[in-house]
Assembly symmetry: C3
Homo-oligomer: 445 residues x 3
């Protein structure tokens, strides 16, 4: 009948929407590559490229074989999923509407692969220019196969203990639609642990922690990177709307506006702070300001008011600037400011989304909200006012703890086995030195 036909078109559209947003998130990978290459010395460019292509390749195979099953497999429990490994099993074969497999699950897979794939890229950003390529790949392997899938299960599966589907936690579940906490806080903490355990680059700090600015090869690459990240984050944030049957689509314009306002607000604050401190606007910092605002926009882009997004952006910028200054005097060498950007922005986003979310926006963005729609602490709603804040806080602490333990469990054994860091000669000569036998034009890398 017509119901079926119309539903089927709407569900076709939902599937297409999710896949297209997924592949647009690919722009974030391009942005990350540009940001990272722009921020390092030319002598390590090739190693960086191998690392980034390798990361995506290993992630893809790992998430295909096992990761997705640990995230969204329906036979799991509160803590971890089970089933649907290698795109097999009920989840994928359980056909909808007379066809032989479930196209919506395949779309769901590719979207969450593109989200998951950001985590190893974030983590490796802090480790550039002195870390062994084998270490990168081991870390990527474990992140993609288990560490991040578990966190995704907590937040986004139907059974996860912090999921807004299960609504187990505080009756609301945690609010983290596009990954401020799942992706950015988690990645930022592992990056920080890694940067600490791998140690600073030779020459980065002198004696009593005197801070030396290391060569950064191309500010244009970095700026382009920020723009591609920006373009990709629209897709990431809008991908939180996954169903065209209902009202969710009404939130799309709002998501795009909130993302824009949050990113630009952050950039403006960072510009003013660097102008105040260094007497000129520092482009690498402004670029990072954009990125911090984007990381902060993900949790609540669909449910926040726009004035809330503006305040989130302004705070993201300030937190970035503060953390970046603190890092410089901490003796930790985080090459592309991963922790200030992703941990800083992610924390601000996770917390503030629990303040600036309105009940009516939440209702539109989350289709299965059921009874008792949650809201942020700044907007009253049937006595649920502070629940979302508590839920997000608990989730933030849990994810931080998990990521801290995972980071130590990943990097410490590698360090003990001396697989974490290249030797001093290789580092000084550049990681690309081993491939230096060819006649490549060195000055153009």
């Amino acid at each position: 009948g017509w119901v079926h036909h119309s539903s089927s078109l709407s569900s076709s559209f939902s599937t297409a929407w999710l896949v297209v947003r997924a592949i647009q998130i690919f722009l974030v990978q391009i942005g990350m590559l540009l940001l990272e290459i722009g921020s390092i010395s030319p002598k390590n460019t090739k190693a960086m490229i191998i690392k980034n292509i390798g990361n995506s390749s290993i992630s893809a195979i790992c998430f295909y074989l096992l990761g997705y099953g640990f995230s969204f497999g329906v036979d799991g429990d509160d803590f971890v999923g089970w089933g649907g490994f290698a795109t097999k099993g009920e989840l994928f074969s359980n056909a909808t509407g007379g066809i032989s497999y479930n196209g919506a699950t395949y779309a769901h897979f590719i979207y969450y692969f593109c989200v998951l794939n950001l985590v190893p890229t974030i983590v490796s950003g802090s480790l550039s220019e002195r870390t062994h390529v084998v270490a990168y790949f081991v870390v990527t392997f474990f992140i993609s196969i288990f560490i991040t899938p578990v966190v995704m299960h907590w937040a986004w599966s139907h059974k996860g203990w912090a999921s807004y589907h299960s609504r187990y936690l505080m009756d609301t579940g945690a609010l983290d639609f596009a990954g401020s906490c799942v992706v950015h806080v988690s990645g930022g903490i592992m990056a920080l642990v890694g940067a600490y355990l791998v140690g600073p680059r030779n020459g980065r700090f002198i004696g009593e922690r005197v801070n030396v600015r290391m060569p950064r090869q191309n500010v244009t690459y970095a700026a382009l990177g920020a723009f591609f990240l920006w373009a990709g984050f629209y897709a990431l944030n809008m991908g939180t709307i996954q169903n065209f049957d209902g009202e969710g689509v009404n939130a799309l314009g709002k998501i795009a506006i909130n993302t824009t306002i949050c990113a630009t607000g952050s950039a403006i604050v960072v510009s003013l702070l660097t102008l105040y401190k260094e007497k000129h606007i520092e482009p690498y910092s402004v670029v990072n300001g954009i990125c911090t605002g984007l990381a902060g926009s993900s949790a609540g882009c669909a449910t926040m008011t726009t004035e809330g997004a503006l305040i989130t952006g302004l705070l993201c910028g300030a937190v970035y600037f503060l953390l970046s200054c603190m890092l410089c005097s901490s003796g930790i060498d985080d090459v592309t400011d991963v922790a200030p950007i992703h941990l800083g922005g992610g924390m601000v986003g996770t917390i503030l989304s629990a303040f600036f979310t309105t009940q009516s926006f939440y209702k539109i963005a989350v289709l299965d909200s059921g009874v008792g729609t949650p809201c942020g602490a700044f907007y009253a709603c049937e006595g649920l006012g502070w629940r979302l804040f508590v839920a997000n806080l608990i989730f933030l602490i849990a994810v931080s703890a998990w990521s801290l333990v995972a980071g130590i469990a990943l990097f410490l054994p590698l360090r003990i086995m001396s697989l974490l860091r290249v030797d001093k000669i290789t580092e000084d000569a550049g990681l690309d030195f081993i491939s230096g036998a060819d006649v490549e034009l060195k000055r153009f890398n």
Copy 2:
């Protein structure tokens, strides 16, 4: 009932369409950044990046707070809109279909932000390498908050005096679907005024206007920029179709073809002309030829015949070449040939769209065409033949006058207050000199 359900899906789709096209227009910003950085000396790269990120940031906040209200606020009159400031008010809260806010208006907002955001980027392109960053930001502020919103109101709001919705002007309204006149002519004129008032770069002209070619750092960036612009213009031009309820979607393929043919036709003409004049094909000129064809395609891409688009493209190329030669001997230093590209292409597009539009294409592209569908002067239509031409001519003159006055009102006070141009030492050392204290690898900027 079914009517409602089906309509709601179609309207969901329209909303998603507009938002996705909007964020794809972001590629134009990336293209502009690459074009501009590729066309300047490396010593001014950082200033350019700060300028471009700053432009987008300021534009976003301004358009959010006030600009959109002046463009599309429903309480306005023929000249300027009023209402909907900061995404508040009836326009945004007036819910459709039982939800608490109007998602379509949010989508509309983000689309027109992405269009508006092109104007300050166009204007600043002519001023590179010697203009003070404060001047850029002041100019961007006023353009985004009032100058361009007003022109958008004239052409695209339901009440504007030249709007094809109101059909007040000549009973047809002006035909400028994607902004050949609103964006490109207007931006081009302000850029020209700015370039004239800021004066040429040191060393650009010698004595009796002997023309010196200034260093341009990277032709690959420029070429990539043109390709991204090209990709983004597909979105810009296809965004003229904003409603999937009717027949408009049938025009999409035609729009893409016309855009392609217009851009490539222009590139071929410019190639042949530079080959004839300089005995080799000049890549920067070919790149600009593409851009000119794109600027010219916007007005009539949805309503022109494809042979019309081809002729428009050929003429765009010729006009670009002519204006670019004229500029060289005029003593005005327009760094990235903004005026030949945007003013030239925009004028050609605005005029020729009034010749090559057919009535049947117009009917498909414009849903509310009502009685007496207009047509171009080359195709007879119920006695309306030349009306569109007269309407477009009047609109072109009005926009030009407005932009000329605005340009003078923007740049003259800045010049008088000595805020327009950096001092000679800074210019010669490079605008990035102030940030030269770091150990950045200068040769890789």
Copy 3:
């Protein structure tokens, strides 16, 4: 009635889908430009840019005027199409649903233009740094106007002898949804013929074919190129689903997964093989591994199992590595490894898709499959088991023969007329030498 309305929305969506995928394929052009520029000496950069913009421009005009008619014109026969030239005739004007032209045909046109446009770009990639620009443009002209349109007609028109619509060949037709054979094998063979006839670059081989690595200016460009290619191939492969009326959309997620797994599998194999042979992972090779996997994914992305895609990818990587090594000792100078990538990947994809296709996936992806849905040789299906393999093998041989003859017919006369190659002085000085009179910063090209 509702049937009409609902159908019309679905058909609107199909049109929009195809156009948007088409313009996303544009990213492949950007990727190709970056790959090529990254792999050559800086002294030939401008010539490369002129070549690539020129290719697209000439292709667009040729396909508009004649090419599309030879591909999909309905008055043709098994071998070549006829009609619909310059977007005129029944195909375009035959209106659907009361409007004055057939929007779906325009969408079809732009999609296949974007596919066709890849072929001259592939062919010219092998010829860089010593070929005359006139030769490029002559080759592009004939490829876009006739050579590739004919192959597209064979495989993808309703009448073509190898089409899966006509099902004339072996009762199944050849399976090449997104062009592994039509685009990549065909382009790869013409590129190989061209590279052989134009001869190696000066200094590329010494005496007894000692292999000299030539300067490659920028590995970052090459890596970025691969990423953009990757992003664009999602669109290319997903564009095989052209209709939202039926079940095809269910295949989208699967296509994206298969594309990802095939590309990354190939990259991993190439990484391991270069690590084994050269004792380090060679980034240019890994980049090419990605591209080979993408070329191999196109034929069967919609119909293969994901384990089939993984095996296809692994084999793509191995074949790339083998062919690349063979080329080095063959005396043929293929600048960007076009033949190993496109011919190698395309052949693997064309053959293996005939093994790993399942009947149920085929049914979903191909709407007009009618009776006796084909399947791959590894999955039994009503006695049709090996037919698809035979059909694909015949098609592969036919396309290879056609491309070989076309390649000779294109390049041999150019060589005889001495239009193929620039003189030795120009080659050594760089093709950009002719434009060397300006004051461009040479070291930044």
